[in-house]
Amino acid sequence: MTHAQPATAPRTMYEKVWDAHVVIPESPDAPAVLAIDLHLIHEVTSPQAFATLRERGLRVRRPGRTLATLDHSIPTLPRRADGSLPILNNDAARQIELLAAHCREFGVHLHDLDSADQGIVHVMGPDLGATQPGMTIVCGDSHTSTHGAFGALAFGIGTSEVAQVLATQCLLQRRSGTMCVDVSGQLPEGVTPKDMILAIIAHIGVGGGTGCVIEYRGEAVRALSMEGRMTVCNMSIEAGARAGMIAPDQTTFDHIRGRAMAPTGEAWERAIEQWRSIASDVGAVFDRSVALNASGLEPMVTWGTSPEDAIPVTGLIPEPAGDSRRDRALRYMNFEGGEPIAGRAVDTVFIGSCTNSRIEDLRAAAQVFRGNRVADGVRALVVPGSASVKRQAQAEGLAEVFVQAGCEWREPGCSMCIAMNGDLVEPGKLAISTSNRNFEGRQGPGARTLLASPLTAAAAAVTGVVTDPRELINEPVTAGGVS
């Protein structure tokens, strides 16, 4: 099976980016060899890959196209008085040391904890302007789909593939199917990009995008800021799609311009011209298409242990149905089923993660926290996605709002989303989180997670119960939404 088409046939954005990176086309007997423009690495999924290189006497082929940071295993508490880091355990400390050692040995630029650019890998890349339209971007992390917000083809890979990319700057890949998610209308006030993507996943299912790259389009998607687009593309993997993409436009270019790794001068003009050409052609055919209208969406929250278990915050938790998955999820979450999700008491609130830790997310949360206090008995963590986001939040006075409200304002990192770094939800506790996964034990053994937007999470923090954030907002909210 070859996918070669006449040059005049309309192509999707995915097909254009794919075609531009084919080193050797795929055939029935072998996958394509695909060139990778940007390889992001972190401490958890890279040590075994570097070990493979060392065993085989290989070098990193393109160190200049490889960027490293620390995010998963690091503490988000500040350094101790003696300057040491409160690292969870010796294994985590070893991972952190090894990444630094590997980067020195192989000549890779590490944005370490003292760097002005350190951050969650999917916040750092766009912060630096390293993430650009039309690129192929990979990382040993499934939320690499985030970078598709810029019109890049970006997807998560396993550690064996990390070794392949380090050694050859290429990957063996079969072409994916294509899926179009068209969102018309306008997001109502108080309804955010997080609510949009949770609604999409609830609609197509947690495996609905398996085997596909999703392209998000339509009026409501075009209206999103880059932060909002990143939130949407980030959770493509929660629908089973390895990648999500949004066509680059003026919003994209304005976001990239002036960043450290962005092109300048004549190169910028040439880049814009090229970036404008990668949107899907009129008449391009997708394998599958889904349409939603944003105007009827409400703030969403999950009740179960799969991201597809999302319902409007005004809705009812589904009743048991003799369906083993639903019944197991209800048991794990300790819900009877049939009761409203609003009004459930929460113990922990987590605002952060590669899904929702950017400046607009923090602005949205601060809007709810301003002049309010975290409810008694509730623990609220606010974790900026990167050192740069942290500085900006401090400069805008948001950090002070969080601290005044009684939140813990932390250092950048993955924190409670992955719960392998010391930040976790206690067994049995109910957390409302702006992260991406509500799987059993994801935020700690026995932890129960409700996924929601920064607005909805902040609203629960100040009331102590799951709350429709629209009840608390007096001013118009942009919330990473309408630009």
Partner: protein, 191 residues
């Protein structure tokens, strides 16, 4: 990578849909810097309770699961995180074949690169296989068929390259390194 041709073994069935890689290997065990030793934590929080006692209703705790090399799983197995640790953990507990009606993309690729054959089979055969707990099954990659006394013969589709790599124990990185001339030509043209 050990070649895989024909596997005959008892089957463990995990009928749950959407078993994610956090359930296969919880994140707190990802602080390792190697790929060995993860089998001890496979399905950790599903296999044992908070006191460390084995949960009797977890199929891998059944004595009949001992030595099983074939896992039949519910729809959309291996969704979520890209952690290859999930494949390393399964390999270490002896799993050589995973069969489901859907297997998440990244897990499927990770499994194949670690000598585990991921089989995506049609829904009707999948439904039959879900009833085959602890029965003996033969998975024949040379003939692309599953055979059992109770269920007869079922054919399964498999990617030709994946099949060859598993049959011959081809190392993907080694294969890719044979393409360096083409990679250099591409880079020369692109720069």
């Amino acid at each position: 990578m050990n070649p895989l041709r024909v596997v005959t073994s008892r089957v463990v069935v995990l009928p749950d849909q959407n078993v994610d890689t956090d359930r296969i290997i919880p994140a707190r065990f990802l602080t390792t810097t190697g790929s060995e030793g993860l089998g001890a934590y496979a399905f950790n929080d599903w296999r044992i309770d908070a006191t460390g006692s084995p949960r009797p209703d977890f199929p891998f705790n059944d004595t009949r699961a001992e030595g099983a090399e074939i896992l039949v799983a519910g729809h959309n197995f291996g969704c979520g995180s890209s952690r290859e640790h999930a494949a390393w953990a399964l390999r270490e507990i002896g799993i050589r074949v995973v069969i489901s009606s859907e297997i998440a993309d990244i897990f499927r690729a990770n499994a194949a690169r670690n000598g585990i054959l991921p089989i995506v089979i049609d829904k009707s055969n999948h439904a039959k296989l879900l009833t085959a707990a602890f029965q003996e099954l033969t998975v024949d990659l040379e003939r692309c068929e599953i055979r059992s006394e109770q269920l007869g013969v079922m054919e399964f589709p498999v990617d030709a390259f994946m099949r060859r790599c598993l049959l011959e124990g081809v190392d993907h990185l080694g294969y890719l390194l044979t393409k360096l001339d083409a990679i250099e030509a591409y880079e020369g043209a692109a720069s």
